[in-house]
Structures are given as structure tokens and as C-alpha cells.
Amino acid sequence: MIKIYKFDTDLQDFQEISQGTFDNPVTVKSTPGGLASAHKLWIRNDDPLKFYNTVSIDIPKEDAEAPGVINVGHRDTLVDFDLRMLSGDVEPTDAEWAAAAHWGTISSPLDVQHGNQSRTKIPDLGEAGAADTGFYPFWVKITTPGSITPGERLFYIRASYIEGVV
């Protein structure tokens, strides 16, 4: 199954991000009008008997989807925030962040001709006959405008895919 991980620097280990329970969410802290901070996450298939292609990662702005999957009290609209995602192991530069699409999507497969120049691609997680259980990193950056009221907002990262059996 596809999972998303964060890295716990205290435990020196990857931690699975929870799905719908908020037991172990990605937690991003921000100040209105403050500087944005980038967070590194990883996507991975942990099942050696499955492979995944046409993988897509995004963070929906509105709470219009995930029916029946998420069972949390409420989800907030993120329309007013500036959220960007880029793939790759090294933290994106300011120029790369500036060029990144607002509310962009990271997707597979890799562009064979151009590699990952735009940092919006990840490889397919395996193929028929060969699972891939490696960790593939991506970065999330949120900027909070000065007009935002302080408080906690809950939302989700969506990972879409087509699953196959190895």
C-alpha cells in the first residue's frame, strides 16, 4: 500500500503519516505574514507484492472530496493559503519555490526525456514483475498571509494511483 512518511529526527526513523485519525499527522507551524517553512516528506509502497503507477500527490484546497474515507470533525478551506510542492531529495532553492505552481501536483512517471527538471515528477512505484519499496522524497511549503486568523486547521494530502499486482 502507498504510504506517506515524515522523518523523526529524535527517533532517527521514518514515521507513517496517519490516515483520518490524526494520531500522527504532518504538522506544519506558521505565523500570519511570516516566513514560510518547507517540510520534507516521503512517499513509498510498503507492499512487495504490489506496484503503483500514475501516482499523483496533491493537497486539495477544499473539503469536497474523500467521502467516507476521512472521519474527522471538520476540514478547513485552504484557499487563502499559498501551498507549493516539489519533488527531489535536496531542499528546493528560493528560485525553484518561486517558480513552483501554487497548489501544484507531483506525479509519476518521470519524464524520461527531461528527467525531473521542474521537480514535479516522481517515478512509478514499481512495475509488473518488480515492486519498488523505496522512499521517494518531496517537499511541501506553506505561506500564511497576514490576514489569516490564528488557529489550527486540518486537511489532507491526497495520493491517487493505479494499483497492480507484481
Binding site: 532517527q12 503519516i17 485519525t21 490524526f22 507551524k29 506558521s30 505565523t31 490564528p150 486547521r153 486537511f155
Partner: protein, 149 residues
């Protein structure tokens, strides 16, 4: 098919360091940015490279460097706090604390002595001005006492 992973955003006005870039935090708290970068993968190569690192700097040079870093860090913190206070002041300029002078004659008297013409309300601007005044008075008292020694 799709899966949905939990993502929580905490927006807070009162954080000094939360909005800072890693490099700024590292400068303030003397951390090695490569070793402490949030979310960084553990890197065994770094540990090996440390074994071949150059010998430590001379003590005096090291102290000067550390004090300089401390000063820079202090200035960065002060700047961040000042910016937050300015933001809070802007957001809170309409806040007013009103009280009955008969119930709090001590407060009314003190207020009238500092802010002429007012004895029953404290605006946020007045509160900030009082804080500034208190700082200046403390400084003056300190200087006066030091002169007397």
C-alpha cells in the same frame, strides 16, 4: 483510487521561531544546519567526514566567533519579536480596557499622571507606551545606581 493522509496546520501569532527559515534558527541557536535540518535523512557520510575535519579553531578566535554569533542571534530574535509586536499592535489597535475609576482609584491616579486627560481607559497603544516607559525608567534607575557606586 486515492488515499488521504492527515495534515495539520497550526497558525500562531506568538511564535518567534516557527516562521523562521532553518538557517535563521540555526544561526540563533548555534546549530549546524546540515545536521539539524528538519526532515533531513540521516547521513552516515557526514559522520565519517567529521572524523577528517580540520582541528578546532584557536580558543580566542572561537570565543570571538561565538560571541559574534550570539550577538547576531540576539539581534535576529529581537527583530523577529519587534515585528510580531508591531503586527499585534496593528491587529489590536482597537482594543481598549475600560474600568471604573471609583473601583480602581490607584490605577486611575497612575493613569492620569502618565497619560494626561485619561483616567478610565487603557488602549493598546497606551499599554505599549507604558511598557516602553517602564524599560526606560528601569534603565535610568540602573544608570543612576551605577553612578553612585
Amino acid at each position: 483510487m486515492a488515499l488521504y493522509f492527515d495534515f495539520r496546520l497550526r497558525v500562531s501569532n506568538f511564535s518567534v521561531t516557527e516562521g523562521l527559515q532553518e538557517e535563521e534558527k540555526d544561526r540563533i541557536f548555534f546549530k549546524n544546519s546540515t545536521a539539524t535540518r528538519r526532515g533531513a535523512k540521516p547521513d552516515g557520510r557526514k559522520l565519517r567526514s567529521e572524523q577528517n575535519s580540520p582541528p578546532p579553531e584557536a580558543p580566542v578566535e572561537s570565543i570571538v566567533k561565538r560571541l559574534t554569533a550570539l550577538r547576531d542571534g540576539y539581534q535576529a530574535v529581537e527583530k523577529a519579536i519587534d515585528e510580531r509586536f508591531e503586527k499585534i499592535a496593528k491587529d489590536s489597535e482597537d482594543l481598549v480596557f475600560e474600568f471604573n475609576p471609583h473601583d480602581r482609584p490607584d490605577l486611575a491616579d497612575a493613569l492620569a499622571r502618565i497619560f494626561k486627560g485619561s483616567n478610565n481607559k487603557i488602549t493598546y497603544k497606551m499599554y505599549l507606551a507604558a511598557l516602553k516607559l517602564d524599560k526606560e525608567i528601569s534603565l535610568q534607575i540602573g544608570e543612576t545606581l551605577a553612578d553612585g557606586v
